[in-house]
Amino acid sequence: MSRYAVLVVQPLVALGLAPGLVGFVRWLKARLQSRRGAPPWQPYFEIRKLFGKEAVVSHTASWIFRATPFVVFGTSVVVASLVPLILVPASPLVAGDVFAAVYLLLLGTFFLALAGLDTGSPFGGMGASREMTVVALTEPTVALSIVALALSAGSTNFSQIVARTIAEPAAALGPGHLLAFIALFVVTLAETGRLPVDNPSTHLELTMIHEAMVLEYSGPYLALIEWGSALKLLVFLALAANLFIPWGLAFALAPGALAIGLASAIVKLGALAATIAVLETRVAKLRLFRVPELLSASFVLALLAVMSTFLVR
């Protein structure tokens, strides 16, 4: 029962939390900028408003433009059901696999880049080109930092990795884990379009990466894409939090365990979101051609993490 319940419970929780997470980051950034800012639940109002508007579609856009919001949203929801967020099923039958999660997110990005090219606008093409560059360069780091975890756990199955970390808490403080965590955090910033890779609140098209691809979207399509992006941030932060600090995750479908799982998820995600907010206030956006340097640095960290896991064994 709990095998398939996780497929229903987790996506709903993720859908509910994701806009709040983005809103929390924005609210904290506002406070750090000495202003009051919108309340942390502002993105919910924005999504609701967008669903009430019409959708304007370009004459040159094809069915790919109209299908992309659903693909982006759908893949984000499926990945949210695979990663350990509040619940890890005891039986590994439905538990997600790391590579499945990574490639599903790549599917969403693939279609988003195509939609950017579909409109015929140079900004869309530019956003697509830059986004695919960043995604291609983050792939090795993602693979290696997950490999570092999978090596000690013995498989790429999420529930296995979580179980292994809980069974051996000392390993969680090992150098391999820490390096892999930092590498994964840098990858999170790159893939979700946060500073220093991409400024999510910029208005200058020439500085955009992710935003440039969605300049043509409006109404419910834009709502789905924004929600999908928020889900992507939630998924990455949940991976970073729950693969490295899994305490608090529920293992059964009991209401008590679920409540603890939810509370611990909120605390961990909140802490990571606060880190992102402070980091975004502190650093400036990198020039586009300095981003590969940052990503190769994170690749080296991930490689070191894997090597140290080999040596420690």
């Binding site: 959708a55 004459h59 040159t60 949203f73 693979a143």
Partner: protein, 678 residues
Amino acid sequence: MAFGTVALLVMAAGYTLGAVLSLVARSDRAARVLTAVGAVVGGAGGLAAAVSVLATRVSVDAVLPTVVSAAGGIVIRLDPLGAFFLALITAVSLPAAVYGTTYMAEYDGRCSLRVFGLMFNAFLLGMSVVPCAANIFTFVMAWELMAVSSYFLVMTESEHSETRQAGLWYAAMTHLGLVLLLPMFFLIAAGHEATAFVDLRAYGATLTAGTRTAVFLLALTAFGSKAGIVPLHVWLPRAHPAAPSHVSALMSGVMIKLGIYGLIRVLFDLLGGGPAWWGGVLLAVGSVSALLGVLYALVEHDLKRLLAYHSVENIGIILIGLGAGSLLHSVGLRALAVIGWTGALFHTLNHACFKGLLFLGAGSVKQQTHTGNMEELGGLITRMPQTALYFLVGSAAIAALPPLNGFASEWLVFQSLLAGAHISRPEIAAGFPIAVGMLALTSGLAAACFVKAFGISFLAMPRSDHAAQARECHWSMRAMMLVLAGGCVVLGLAAPWVARGMSRIIDGVPGLSAGEPIPPSSSLWLTVPNSSAQVSPLLLAVLLGAITVAVLGAIHAGGLRVRRADTWGCGRISQTPRMEYTASAFAEPLRRVFAEVYQPTQDLSINMHPESRYFIQSITYTSHVVPWFEQVFYDPVIRTARGLAAQTRRLQAGSLHLYLLYVVAALVAALACAWWFQ
């Protein structure tokens, strides 16, 4: 006679009749149809034979010494490994042959379709006999038939100088392979009479380590040049775009796999596997090929050259799987090694499927727009909607996106690399994470490259009149693309079932088998033995579909108002195709990032107005990416060969007296040699 033997005879008869009949056809149209008929009959026969062997796991033997009596005659033996490759060949050749019927219509009157038909069927015959060959003579004859007929197929459009160049490179590289293939076989069979593969297997067990190393290196070079590993791949991006598209589909999807077949047959079957460093070499060569293949594909803006470079990349991935499996096998982790080999063989099948599809799609684009240059395409998704859809399926499959087939085979290869963690020797285990990193980078770059290929060619507005006037291609061409696209989807969703079958094939090869019974794997989940890693493409597809349908329904139930308007261009007055992103622009950031690998040359010339330096008339900017290994490896060799040939030309002085002197000298030398060797 057994069903398998009958089917093989039908196959041979079909191809031969197709070749002969199309040569004597009355008209071009008849030639085209007869070519396809012969290919379809032969292909059906071969497919039936292969499927029967795979289903019953009983090999088919046929010895035909009466046809040719030299060197042991023609010996045919179709075992499960060969049957897999034969099934692959015939399964892709059937859609390609039917596609060719209408595709070649534009060549009516331009080239000899009769000769084309002869060569096409000979090509298919040669390719189909290679996996069935069971002695050196048959193997080499079929190999050479395949090479020679494909040379003529490449030279179909010999009026272009690039095609002639491509043909020259192709012929040179293929015969380099042949020159290395013969010594390899003779090293195994040295000092023995019988040359059948069953005998070679026995000899292989008695070879010294030095001989085995020599055989390994020769096999890697010979079969590698056919498969297209770096740096022996230089003929691929020249020959594949030059040939007609369905021939390119066969060459790229099927012929290069015969290089992989040769490697597996010689190294793992005849020699029974080797020391760990063989696997390490395969892994290294595979990783480098994969990465360099995709890097060079990124900067190509000719659609078919891009696809050809991607073939190099995918061969690299297959070699990574083979190398990982071989390394794991040699350290004793045999059950895990099977995952690597399964991944490699599965990727062979998948690549044949989606590369064939992509080439057929590129062919219909080229037929309708008369250009393969992406910079002149665009807007084809509204003009050729079905072709666009099938090309999208192929692009998603080659970018390894779930739930299609590319994802399943790459998942298996990744898992085999992860299994390297169980190796206790750190110097071997250290190579695996680097291979993981390179494979992940390759798949990310492949996704970027196909966003470019599909996005620039099909989406937004047409960049030239050619593209604007394109119309959908003939229904038979579309139907064949649908068949291959359906194959990609089915292979992806049914991946666990297919992988299970592959493991059984691998078990039948002595050098690859695990030696212990493998735990039964599920038909719904791709699994790894002794590990809880698992993935189900079917489940992912169902989840994705369910959520998408639910959200679609919710949005439409809530009332979706859509309005069509112009693309937002910052209020700019007009929107023309000149404002769209170009293929070169799309690849520019990655070109800059990998500039050390590409070493691009740049040329900037500014023409100023004759009257004033401050007014510019025109600016011309050209930038070329020339593969550096061509400059480092091939240019010196070609220069030396030319120099030697120029020196040797001096022997042809034109004087009759000198030639008579040569004849006398040769006679004296021959007599001296005969006397000395007595």
